[in-house]
């Protein structure tokens, strides 16, 4: 996995709450058997005026001029500002894949849905929870200042604005460690292979029916 230490980039404001993963990447694009290529279809139904189809050349499609990521000033954004309960609904990991493929490296919101939050860490995309008032302030400053950039530092667990104002955020030690070092989760877990085997052999004694061959 790609490591995340520090990132500085243009912020884009996605000003609606309860953005669900169907909205982030609609179902017709879930038919891909790959992990990449979802960027052109990120927020497809908000971004384009027509109905998107898989394997289509999106550069020819009519854009929705009102959608935030279609504005020139946000086209190269890499930090997404979002509202409460971002990423709710379906567990599709295609949502963080699409955000990543578009170029986002971090998402800042007052709260996230659990599964989406978890999925982000597996893909080098950092979800950051900040107080609602702070997020409000970042939305205001982003909208007021073209080219507004935020610096996200996972080492120091801070988000810093262009004026130098800094806001701290919390993140689990394990997740932070894996992300900072770009560690492969599975490799880390397999270091505990003996503990897993020990659990299995004791469970086979107390609950043997869980180990009946199903096939």
């Amino acid at each position: 996995m790609r490591a995340f230490t520090q990132h500085k980039g243009i912020a884009a404001p996605m000003d609606r709450s309860n953005v669900d993963t169907d909205m982030i990447i609609p179902k017709q694009f879930l038919k891909s058997i790959k992990r990449t290529g979802f960027g052109p279809n990120l927020f497809d139904e908000l971004r384009y005026l027509d109905e998107g189809k898989p394997d289509q050349d999106c550069s020819k499609r009519p854009l929705n001029p009102d959608f935030v990521l279609n504005q020139d000033r946000y086209k190269n954004a890499s930090v997404l500002l979002a509202r409460a309960n971002f990423g709710c609904g379906s567990s599709r990991e295609h949502a963080p894949w699409a955000l990543d493929d578009f170029g986002f490296r971090a998402v800042i919101a007052p709260s996230f849905a659990d599964i989406f939050y978890n999925n982000c860490f597996k893909n080098g995309l950092l979800p950051i929870v900040l107080e609602e008032e702070v997020v409000d302030k970042l939305f205001r400053e982003t909208e007021e200042t073209e080219g507004y950039e935020l610096t996200v530092d996972l080492e120091s667990k801070t988000v810093t604005t262009p004026s130098g104002e800094s806001f701290g955020f919390e993140v689990d030690d394990f997740r932070r460690h894996c992300l900072l070092n770009g560690l492969d989760d599975i490799g880390v877990t397999l270091e505990d292979a003996d503990a897993i085997r020990e659990y299995e052999s004791s469970r086979k004694q107390t609950a043997p029916w869980l180990f009946n061959a199903s096939n």
């Binding site: 879930l30 599709r92 659990d114 030690d173 599975i186 897993i196 609950a207 869980l210």
Partner: protein
């Protein structure tokens, strides 16, 4: 020391290792796999040269992409080549790694969350995961069950474990009895309406109280299924005789001495009387009416006798804007009566409501009636091949067909419209599924979440109507 909640017990029984940094390794007893969220996981195993840790813990079936007509054609019946590739890829992966799969033409094929319980592959006290957020369904059996992403599907395949952090405990208690015509679906929609779509975030919810205990396993599954729509990855109901009687005799269930040993353990799977919950929410069962969602989030619900809300009366500016946006998308007016909403299509199916009791409920309403001529389509999609066969044995297929509903083959179908079954732009659908998000059932489609009985009542009248007026 306070007693343990059901969630505490399930957590403790699956704890492989508690790490110093607060994370834990949790053992997974069962993984269900389907074609949409597994291909990249298998590919990851191949790239890393890893093998599945324990083959017999996995069970696979294609469900999201499968067509609901021409099932006898098998994979050749999938017209969309991209969908076909995904189903073929699942077959190939399961064959290559040696994982049991109910393939498209197998009568046991169906929606993962229907076939797990049906086969007894879902057993009380298990930890169960699937790359699908509605895995919470299996919590109805006193399981620790939740949805995961594709990276975690790969992680479970390779290690039989997940890295987790313990959630908080919430009890949602539904007191007293439910009124006639009020189902598990109405209960869970009312709960989501009360606590909101993020009300359960960070919690494992246990559903309890007399109204929950009096429900069948299928009603309990409907409730646990939609826990995620309240933000909770995990929803559970304590094990009781209803649970154990349901499991007995199913193909994957233990037998003889192991059955007795299992039952003894399963009977401990309830919260202790002195267990402490971080949050408790109570509802009165008798106050719950048949529910209809009017907006684009499952928390946007009203009783069938109610009205679409007026955003002008909402004080919170973010919520107000959410209502304005939802009404615009849904093409509804503020204060419009729910019973005045005219429908274009009706969908009875999905992992929420496609089991035999759901179909019986719907059939009882449409029996001797006809689908309203104003509707473009009303379809019934059973949750599995076995549910379909059972319904046909009971003659329910004939009841539906005579009333003018389409009787289809099993799959996820119009719940998320990954196959050919979808809504047209601007069409209103009475749907027994779980999500009314924008575009969920088709580009520009407008979903109203209801129970199977309410969907059936809408099918024969062309608009929403209190099902109790037709049946009582």
């Amino acid at each position: 020391m306070a007693g343990k909640t059901l969630y505490d017990k399930l957590w403790d029984d699956h704890l492989v290792k508690q790490r110093d940094d607060g994370s834990a390794l949790i053992y997974i007893d069962r993984q269900l796999l389907h074609e949409v969220t597994s291909p990249q996981a298998f590919e990851g195993l191949r790239i890393a040269g890893r093998k599945p840790w324990r083959l017999d813990a996995n069970l696979a079936t294609p469900d999201h992409n499968v067509p609901t007509v021409d099932r006898e054609k098998g994979i050749d019946g999938i017209v969309d080549p991209v969908s076909r590739t995904q189903v073929e890829t699942l077959d190939k992966n399961c064959d290559e790694f040696g994982i049991l799969e109910f393939k498209i033409k197998d009568q046991r094929q169906g929606i993962v969350h229907v076939i797990g319980p049906e086969q007894g592959a879902t057993l009380p006290g298990m930890s169960i995961v699937c790359g699908d957020s509605h895995t919470s369904t299996h919590g109805a059996f006193g399981c620790l069950a939740h949805g995961i992403g594709t990276s975690e599907v790969e992680h479970v395949l390779a290690t039989q474990c997940l890295v987790q952090k313990k959630m908080k405990n919430m009890l949602v208690k539904v007191n007293g009895k439910l009124g006639p015509g009020v189902t598990g679906k109405d209960v869970v929609l009312a709960i989501i309406g009360k606590i909101g779509t993020a009300g359960g975030t960070g919690y494992a919810i246990e559903f309890g109280g007399e109204a929950i205990q009096s429900l069948s396993m299928e009603g309990r599954m409907t409730i646990c299924n939609m826990s995620i729509e309240a933000g909770a990855r995990v929803g559970m109901v304590a094990v009781d005789d209803t649970t154990i009687n349901y499991v007995k005799g199913r193909p994957f269930a233990p037998t003889e001495a192991q059955w007795d040993q299992a039952v003894e353990y399963w009977n401990t799977l309830h919260s202790d009387a002195d267990a402490v919950f971080d949050k408790v929410v109570e509802l009165e069962g008798s106050e719950i009416k048949p529910q209809v969602s009017w907006g684009t989030s499952p928390e946007m619900v009203a009783g069938v006798d109610g009205s679409v809300p007026d955003p002008a009366r909402e004080e919170d500016p973010i919520k107000r804007e959410g209502i304005v946006r939802a009404l615009k998308y849904m093409g509804l007016e503020a204060n419009q009566k729910i019973t005045d909403i005219q429908l274009d299509r009706v969908f009875i199916g999905s992992c929420t409501n496609s089991r035999i009791e759901d179909l019986r409920e719907a059939a009882a309403v449409v029996k001797g009636r006809k689908v309203a001529p104003s509707l473009k389509q009303a379809m019934v999609v059973p949750g599995s091949g076995l549910v379909k066969a059972q319904a046909e044995q009971e003659g329910l297929d004939k009841v539906f067909i005579e009333a003018g509903l389409e009787w289809r083959d099993p799959g996820c179908s119009m719940c998320l419209a990954m196959n050919a079954d979808k809504l047209g732009q601007g069409e209103h659908c009475a749907s027994t599924s779980n999500r009314n998000f924008e575009g969920r059932q088709g580009f520009g489609g407008r979903t109203h979440l209801v129970s199977p009985a309410m969907a059936a009542a809408a099918a024969v009248t062309g608009h929403f109507v209190d099902v109790r007026e037709l049946t009582h």
